[in-house]
């Protein structure tokens, strides 16, 4: 069974969250990890972070919990805190390539490009380089406006394995963030087919479409809001799309 096929998006009305069949699911680190992923796909990074913390409360040696916390801090724009926290995680998992790569991302987003490239170099030199390391590499290289960033993204998608949907979503977001909307659109379109209940995927797709001046953006934002009601970024984006004039839509921005 694939990792993301078991994710719940709150659409099982007959069962409360966490319930499975006759008994209640055991609230261990895996349970909270699953919850955190669910919130992450819904674009609720604050709740995802809280669930990662709860997973670590169950088991402080749970690696996905540490990584998830750092990623959520980055999503929330708290890059300095993410760098501090990744250092702490590195004490528990020394020289872990994914943690080093995540630190590179935190540094890159905080405008510390020299540090970012150093951490990325370090992470890529390790064994067992995962898709996350390649994605981080791509992000650092995109910050340096390097042409080989696209190759890194392809490599990340290629080695993704079970994490395929998440990696493709991240790749799409990365390209979207860096302004390569056409390439981002390709990834995001496949993602909404794979994860139709992910508000984040719909939102990113909508952003991409809006930037390209496509009218489908409205539908994507509406879908994101349907999945995650009262989500402020989606609401604002939808309002912007709705108030955009004909020429603004025509010329993209």
């Amino acid at each position: 069974m694939r990792r993301f096929s078991r994710l719940e998006f709150g659409d099982r009305s007959d069962e409360g969250p966490g319930k499975q069949g006759a008994g209640e699911e055991m609230r261990d680190e895996e349970y909270f990890h699953k919850q955190a992923l669910r919130y992450w796909f819904a674009g609720d990074f604050e709740l995802a972070l809280r669930n990662y913390s709860r997973a670590l409360e169950q088991n402080s040696a749970f690696y996905p919990g540490w990584l998830g916390q750092v990623l959520m801090l980055i999503e929330l724009g708290e890059y300095k805190e993410a760098a501090v926290w990744v250092d702490k995680a590195l004490e528990m998992f020394p020289e872990h390539p994914e943690l080093l790569a995540t630190k590179a991302v935190a540094c890159a987003r905080d405008g510390r490009l020299e540090k970012a490239i150093a951490y990325s170099d370090n992470s890529i030199a390790k064994d067992n380089v995962t898709s996350r390391v390649w994605l981080a590499r791509a992000e650092v290289l995109l910050n340096r406006k390097s042409n080989i960033a696209q190759n890194c993204i392809s490599k990340a998608v290629g080695v993704a394995g079970d994490d395929g949907p998440m990696v493709r979503l991240q790749a799409g977001r990365l390209l979207n963030w860096k302004g390569d909307y056409a390439a981002a659109l390709q990834y995001l379109r496949t993602i909404v087919d794979e994860l139709p209940k992910s508000a984040l995927a719909w939102y990113e797709l909508g952003c991409c479409q809006a930037k390209l001046g496509r009218s489908e953006a409205k539908i994507s934002f509406e879908q994101a809001l349907k999945l995650h009601p009262d989500w402020r970024p989606a609401e604002e984006a939808l309002r912007k799309v709705e108030t955009k004039g004909f020429f603004a839509r025509l010329f993209g921005r």
Binding site: S53, L73, G77, W85, G111
Partner: protein, 338 residues
Amino acid sequence: MRCQRCQFENIPGETRCLRCGSILEAKDVAVDVHPPRMAYWKKPERAALRWLRLHIALPEGLTVPRVPAFLRIMSADAFLGLILSIIPGLAHYISGRFREIRWFVLGWFLALLAGIFFYGGGLGFLLLGLAVGLHGWIAFSYALSKERTEISGKIRDFAVVLVVFAIFYWGIRATAFRDFVFGLSNLAIPNQDVQVGDVLLARRSRAHGGNFPRGSLVFGRFPQIYGNQVMPNRYTVSGQIVALPGEKIEINGGRFVVNEKVLDGDKFPVPRWLSREQLSATIPVDCYFVSTAYRHGGANLTGGMMRDVCILQKSDIEALAVMRWFPLAKRGFLRADQ
């Protein structure tokens, strides 16, 4: 790894004590799993630094300088905290307690701004009083409020702080803003939208050695008329520059005539007391003819008396009016050539 039974310090990784052979149990070390979070108010500061790093190649290690440790220790003292609180919230900021009084600082700032805007009226003084009160409270709440337990002592201390800060504000007004003076207009000049009783803001520095343009409003020290005599003791009132040094002035048909040119009555209105008698004069060097309203109290005015009152030396002109301050609807800068 210390043995719980015999307290022997074993090599880490051993499962049994080397001395007594008892089982060694690793002490559970609590790991903090809750990450540090950024205060929301730091977001703009971080964003600004990030932008600087990305766009103008700011050194990567540069951050907002932190408060030195010795300053933190010093600020713990109530008296030093009070001194630091001369800048509202500084002592709290140094000791990391700014959050406690952030709304008071905001309130102080708004009250101060509004107080300056309405300065000169009752509301202005009320708002400035509120600003002083808030400032005093910020300073008092830092450490003094915790030093006393009884209410009467707290009230007494707060009152002392308030008085100190009131004197401090008065001192700022008397030193930093001594250049600015407020006064009432006693002339109605339609062209400059000035009525009798309007409050004018004037600057002293503009009067020092200046050459005043015709039509400008000034505050000057005018001599007084007692009985049928012009006395040397002077009072500061407002007036309008009508004739410049070396010019010849007359009043003819209710209008000022300067160098045989009739001045516009809207720009240079003639006060009633000046139109009662014939006036003709040539303005000496370093003097100006300044028209002003005057209550002569039934004295027998002569042209000479009017001359003595209205011809002022440069040194007797104290300040040049720059703004109509009150009423608020008319607030704006004055222009002599209007």
